[in-house]
Symmetry: C2
Subunit: 466 residues, 2 copies
């Protein structure tokens, strides 16, 4: 009993758990709050936050950026070679796009080097892998991020001039975004494999699949992607690492049109055999929605999260094309038999554009079955979606989560909230072997590094002082 | 304070809530249990239960029936006219099968009469609806339940000799089950519509769709349905009233094979436009699995639940082909604009075979998005699945529910548990207009009537005494 008040000592504790333990040992009743200092205790970040939280210019800019993101209406309009879709690839130069923020050949991880060498062979610029690697090493091929050209690619994210791209147009604002075609699982270029099987498939995709799909799209008419993605969320997908339903919906939409084409049967067989086929369409749709929100001065909304296998890069709407980078985190997940985390390349790929748009890790509550692929339990999946709602500006108006009673998925990551809450964006992702040529070895969950967001806020703070 | 024990009065209450209220008002601490007398207080049923609970013969029989049900491996093997599939329909007689337990023409609900009249026109046995109805009225057409011929049909469940049927074979035991083809939504025969549009579609299904699908199946090879249904449960279906994912999976499986057929494009278009297409395959698969469990002497496991729009009928494994019937319950749900419960026919159709097999209402936890179609909340859907586990013999080994951490769906309804717990099987269903010719007016949830199960147990008790 507390002698002053004639009743048991009751304490709310926060901070060090030891204080609460002592009080409990002394007979007190303690409610210990799960409180953590902002920005994981980084004092510089806390100074930044003090200047940025509740800043009216940021609030207004975020409202505008969020609205432009939510208003976007991505429509699949075409499938064309990269050299037609992307002006910088039209000139016949040796240029290859890759995932994540900019990185020099010498610094790239194994799977990205392997994929680039494979793309050089695919383009016929070299005749074997060693010659291709040497060509890249010499700087005879321009290497640039997909994101510098309104494009996105999963894992290594390699786009070379003759590869076919999806063309997605955001009808609300007129901007276009692009992604390559999904090759399936197993030995594929995006995981760094570059053998004959991989190159033969890429040639078939270029010469047969893409023209057939292009004709089918002309027959089918434009395909609105947002309702398809929203529907897939009600069918167990989170539309990043699980696209079984979305692929099925897309397949149903185009099947009869494909069946009318000369090579329609093989196209149907290829798509039906690859539950990840829709991933690249999801990514292009997300890119087109987020590009609509880019460049709103003072906005702290995140418009890009992307990884090159070495660094994780973030862009904020208010800081435009600047990248804020930090070393990419490892991926914790389920590995295929014979592999473990020591075999894994760091987090890789542009596919975190889906999380940036409120899908993937942010929408895991819609996808309890994905835990069989990435690890954890359905309760973890739901918790991730709830957590992400603490770092986003709003609930998405189109992407809703049945398991959360149809609440909208967290939409519009606010870099301030990430830093303030110390809650890192959760990303579902595939795991590539760290060496070129091996391919996928698992799938799992990772997070974006905090310092990207702190650095972004620092740049935003500098902008506000001007 | 209770003067005897020098501590507050603490009471566990059960029965009338008023006792607990009084104790609470007097300062007592009361935990009032949500207890209900067995069989909703029916003393006759309680006498029955006293004799049947823990009976070793029933326990052994149920283990056998359950195992045969769980072991079943339904495989889609063919699509043929009813006159080829069902011996009783081969002789050229005027015979039509209908949903639910047996019922005379004069007693049938409007949509069933409408559908039968439509089928008579479809077969060319009469030239207009009035003549068709008169023919049925005169008894010039034999009318029998689908279930008497290893067949099942949704809603009115009408099968006439020239209609195409799915042929599903249970590879584990060799028995076959049949269902008709799904016509889609809107004005369709199974909801009692019988106009030109309905008959033209049925003719196209017979003359074009069925032969095309038959050829495609021969090209595709046999299709295992159980894994497809299990996968659909992980994609938001409960595989009764929501079959969007299952239809997509089936569509993906056969699309390339359909594309090779002369009329493949129109078949692809028809299936792609009907998210309920898989329902009839699900039903035939369930029928084949449950027929494998039928006729195990002394078993109280439910092998059939079916409704004819007037009565709800149940069969138990141990009582073989006997029907136990009670008036069908109304359906509570979401009505299409302009309709309400007063327009609705009572519960109708053989599709409750899916609930009998642990799907539909029993698997609603897998299908939170279905509440947009049948009403309620995702929490209700999960609760239904949990409740059904109280009246079943086991958790299903193949049908698992992600939202319940991949627990198996309740499998093998034990009529004793239904009566003992007073928990009625929950059924997701479409709602037909009570008049012939109108069609579907909504979808919702209903329950099986208790007395069917009590009557079944009485018959089982008589058998045990012999």
């Amino acid at each position: 009993m507390n002698p002053l008040f004639q009743q048991p000592l009751q304490v709310i504790g926060l901070g060090l758990a030891g204080f609460s333990d002592n009080l409990r040992a002394a007979g007190g009743k303690v409610l210990h709050l799960n409180w953590k200092p902002a920005a994981h205790g980084d004092s510089g970040a806390n100074w930044l936050l003090a200047n940025l939280v509740n800043d009216a210019r940021i609030e207004a800019a975020n409202r505008q950026a969020l609205q432009q993101f939510l208003d976007a209406q991505p429509v699949l309009v075409d499938a064309v070679p990269a050299s037609e879709a992307i002006p910088a690839m039209a000139g016949g130069e040796r240029r290859i796009l890759h995932a994540g923020p900019p990185i020099a050949w010498a610094d790239m991880c194994g799977p990205m080097q392997g994929a680039i060498a494979g793309a050089i062979l695919f383009e016929g610029w070299a005749s074997n892998i060693d010659a291709a690697s040497a060509m890249a090493q010499r700087g005879d091929v321009a290497l640039e991020p997909c994101h510098h050209h309104a494009a996105v690619g999963p894992m290594a994210g390699i786009i070379s001039p003759s590869m076919p791209l999806w063309v997605v147009e955001n009808r609300a604002h007129g901007n276009r975004a692009f992604s390559n075609f999904n090759e399936g699982l197993g030995k594929v270029l995006r995981f760094g494999a570059n053998g004959d099987e991989v190159l033969a498939r890429l040639r078939w995709m270029r010469d047969a699949l893409a023209p057939t799909l292009r004709q089918a799209l002309r027959s089918a008419g434009e395909i609105e992607l947002k309702p398809m993605m929203a529907q897939a969320l009600h069918m167990g997908d989170e539309v990043h690492n699980r696209n079984a339903a979305a692929t099925g919906l897309f397949f149903k939409r185009v099947a009869a049109h494909l069946a009318r084409q000369t090579q329609g049967v093989s196209a149907l067989e290829f798509i039906a055999a690859n539950d990840h086929f829709f991933l690249n369409l999801s990514m292009a749709a997300c890119k087109s929605m987020l590009d609509a929100a880019a460049g709103v001065r003072h906005s702290s909304m995140v418009t890009v999260m992307a990884r090159n296998g070495v660094n994780f890069g973030v862009r904020l709407s208010g800081t435009g094309d600047r990248w804020f980078q930090a070393p990419a985190n490892p991926v914790d997940g389920l590995f295929f038999p014979g592999y473990d985390v020591n075999d894994a390349a760091p987090d890789l790929g542009d596919s975190a554009i889906t999380e940036t748009a409120g899908l993937g890790g942010f929408a895991m509550a819609a996808s309890p079955a994905i835990v069989k692929f990435v690890g954890g339990t359905p309760a973890d999946a739901t918790r991730h979606s709830r957590d992400m709602q603490h770092i986003t500006l709003a609930q998405h108006t189109a992407f809703t989560l049945p398991a959360l009673n149809f609440a909208g998925s967290g939409a519009g990551i606010d870099a301030r909230r990430v830093v303030d809450r110390g809650i890192l964006p959760v990303i579902n992702t595939g795991i590539a072997h760290r060496l070129a040529g091996v391919g996928q070895i698992g799938a799992g969950i990772t997070t974006a590094p905090l310092t990207c967001f702190v650095d972004g806020l620092a740049a935003l703070a500098g902008q506000l002082e001007q």
